[in-house]
Symmetry: C2
Subunit: 531 residues, 2 copies
Amino acid sequence: MTDLTVEVYDTTLRDGAQQEGMNLSVADKMAIAPLLDELGVGVIEGGWPGAVPKDTEFFALAGKELTFRHAQLAAFGMTRRAGATAAADPQVRALLDSEAPIITLVCKADIRHAERALRVSPDENLAMIEETFAFLTGEGRRVIMDAEHFFDGYRHDAEYSLRTLQAAVAGGADVLCLCDTNGGMLPDDVSEIVAAVGQRLDTPLGMHAHNDSGCAVANSMAAVAAGATHVQGCVNGYGERTGNADLVAVVANLEIKRGIVALKGDGLVESTRIAHAISEITNIAPFARQPYVGASAFAHKAGLHASAIRVDPDLYQHTQPEKVGNGLRMLVSDMAGRASIELKGKELGFDLAGQNELLGRVTDRVKHAEAAGYTFDAADASFELLLRSELGENPAFWDVETWRVRVASKPGDPTDADAEAVVKMRAGGERMVAVGEGNGPVNALDHALRTALAGVYPEIEEFELTDFKVRIMEASHGTDAVTRVLITTVHQETGELWRTVGVGPNVIEASWEALADSLVYGLLKAGIDRR
Amino acid sequence: MTDLTVEVYDTTLRDGAQQEGMNLSVADKMAIAPLLDELGVGVIEGGWPGAVPKDTEFFALAGKELTFRHAQLAAFGMTRRAGATAAADPQVRALLDSEAPIITLVCKADIRHAERALRVSPDENLAMIEETFAFLTGEGRRVIMDAEHFFDGYRHDAEYSLRTLQAAVAGGADVLCLCDTNGGMLPDDVSEIVAAVGQRLDTPLGMHAHNDSGCAVANSMAAVAAGATHVQGCVNGYGERTGNADLVAVVANLEIKRGIVALKGDGLVESTRIAHAISEITNIAPFARQPYVGASAFAHKAGLHASAIRVDPDLYQHTQPEKVGNGLRMLVSDMAGRASIELKGKELGFDLAGQNELLGRVTDRVKHAEAAGYTFDAADASFELLLRSELGENPAFWDVETWRVRVASKPGDPTDADAEAVVKMRAGGERMVAVGEGNGPVNALDHALRTALAGVYPEIEEFELTDFKVRIMEASHGTDAVTRVLITTVHQETGELWRTVGVGPNVIEASWEALADSLVYGLLKAGIDRR
């Protein structure tokens, strides 16, 4: 370990959300922020209050409801408008109103962008930077500069780009974060320019890298080696175009390979779980080959050297996967699981300590189920049902005889279709036959199931299906692909939320399982007995 | 441009195939190799003949059937066994028998791996290296060294690792490729070690990087900056664990950012199409954020600066996307398309030159369809049907009245299901009602459709559905997710293969479209008229 410390600044909620296909709600941001704090980042950039209404709402809600152990919130915004004062600029005022202790100001650090995009004179741009910093630091906030397009600007007109940094310093900037906004730099370029800037200025430097050349992680490392003490990035490398620097990879490289203290606390050992949990919230499929935390990151195809890997794994891996909460994978049976099952049970209120035979059975069922495509990380309710069934605590609320779904083209339009489902079951001592319609087969099944049960278990009318995700799991090792369905259900009165998972050869069978389990779990939690 | 030239060595077919979930058939390899040649790589590593039976078959078939414009084939193998001669080692002989002009020998370059994995003495390992090289170069082959675990070995015992390189040089090695087999190096490490080796040896050096630290591309660039003149990698960054260096990103960085000649020919401008075509063969979903060639690589979320981007795109992108055959994306209507539609038409035998009004209509339909989830790159047959329909050349072989699919749980087992489909249509002047069964809804629909048509169009019995891929397209901008189905059909007699695409709100509607189009296309190609 060296004495060097680097500040980790996460921008998943702001720059990461620029990714194509990502659309974070306020609730998503409220769910992601505590995970970032658990990871141990120093700063969580929450969005652009004032410019984006849901970001204004996020800061208001986060200020009331979230308490962080490690992180501080940062509000992102722009320098003041041309020709006005910072104090009178509503966009600048909104940054203060957000009550974030840190404000990050994006500044044009490339003379061409000042002139052509902002359409202001080079001197006015400098005045906008200095005055906005001076106003906000005068209000007692810590203010960070995002020097946009700095590297491209420096190559075009180094002196002007340096003057933008000096303007921020004159206004009291705490960190000058140099941004490779277009992502085209290579590590050599970054090293050279960061070192040159460091010789001219004493204010701490930061790095904000994008991955357009495939070098975002390396560029972040190069900047730190050249003197930067602040790095920005996004979990899972989210971001516009090719994404921002993958924050976990940068942090793991800094801590594991260079002995630099980056995270607060010891969240690195939880980073695989945290990265996956965030991908379930963003509903962006995790990338199996992602460094450190990917499902394949420490997966070895069993080959000639299988026994050597098992005896001497350190010869075949660049670091110990446990350091990032990941695991060496070769055979499913190689993955130990009892301890984590015991912990998971404890979380859910089941004391399983010492019940080795039971833990063994549950571990085996989880292993087999996950190999078949289930994922309990994202479906705690399904895990609890599995655990309860091994404990003999799962009441059979009903018995299903048969179900069927019909999808048919609409009369007169063979290119458009309607769906209808029929469920036959016994509940409360009676036989029920119910039909449901829908815009697709799953929707129709859900309606039929609820109609059949509403008489005996009216409580289910409170359970609302709020999210439905389908993923085709790639076939591996010559087996057929399977479909996985994740369903989120919310209790309309209590607000309690639960997730269930189903897996099957097609979306209909997988959905049936997840739907039925969501109702069973809801009834159990409501304390209902079999009727 | 500098005078520097770097040899590009592709190992997609060997090391790339180690990726979890990838399983390349001989036919897959035969389809990928010409695409690599078109890209312009210098060497295509085809596999390990002798050790892997389908690789032996690939070399035999490729020698007969493939002619490359640029590339040469390399066979990968090991040094001779301990305690025997190279000439008598069947594994070494199989490398010669492959008739590949280049042979790449993996050698233990880390003393710990020689002793613990290979279980031979350090001196025997050196003898195995030198003698195997001497034997194969004596047979007139160009032989390349893959110095496995070189970087880890060098850090542990630099002198021994250097002696393994010297042994290869003594045996006549043409290139010493230094492998970061565990993928844990950072660019600083690579620069230092490659430069140090270059000071001790005159033989050209190469770099083989893995992405475990997220630095494979940067490490390849660092090695070239430090003197390496040969780089290995895989298209799309395929490979075990986190993958190998992404070959296209490395090549684009070398050529565009450093002015180094890497590819033979001008295949870089085709690299986006080639990378995507390879991902269709491997059936590994392309990664949208992949540098240079990803679908999102040059996609900008329209925001405050949309107009500035349009006027001055070079201020907002690190390079021109056209250099890699990709395109700036902001609004669908921003993507020019007439020229490519004209070219695509020409490929399919339609002369559309000068037909501007028609080209405009087809371009619009393609744009709208791709925005809705279709992909014509992977479904030429569907594109041809679209083009023919604009040309008024699509005969209506049949009229569909209605279709329906039923999925129902099996009697006695509500967790298992069966599928049945009914199709009602008119063909050959008659009304047909046909039923089909299957293990899933799509399979049942396919059977019903064929049964209905077999009397009037018996030719369709020759069309075999050989592949069926489903992808859920992520919702973007608040719209619902859609399902895309790609179907591959083969004519059993002629061997002709075609692909069709269908898109719909669920897998059943999407499949219906792709199935029906596959039959229409097959009939058209067979020269059948409407009956």
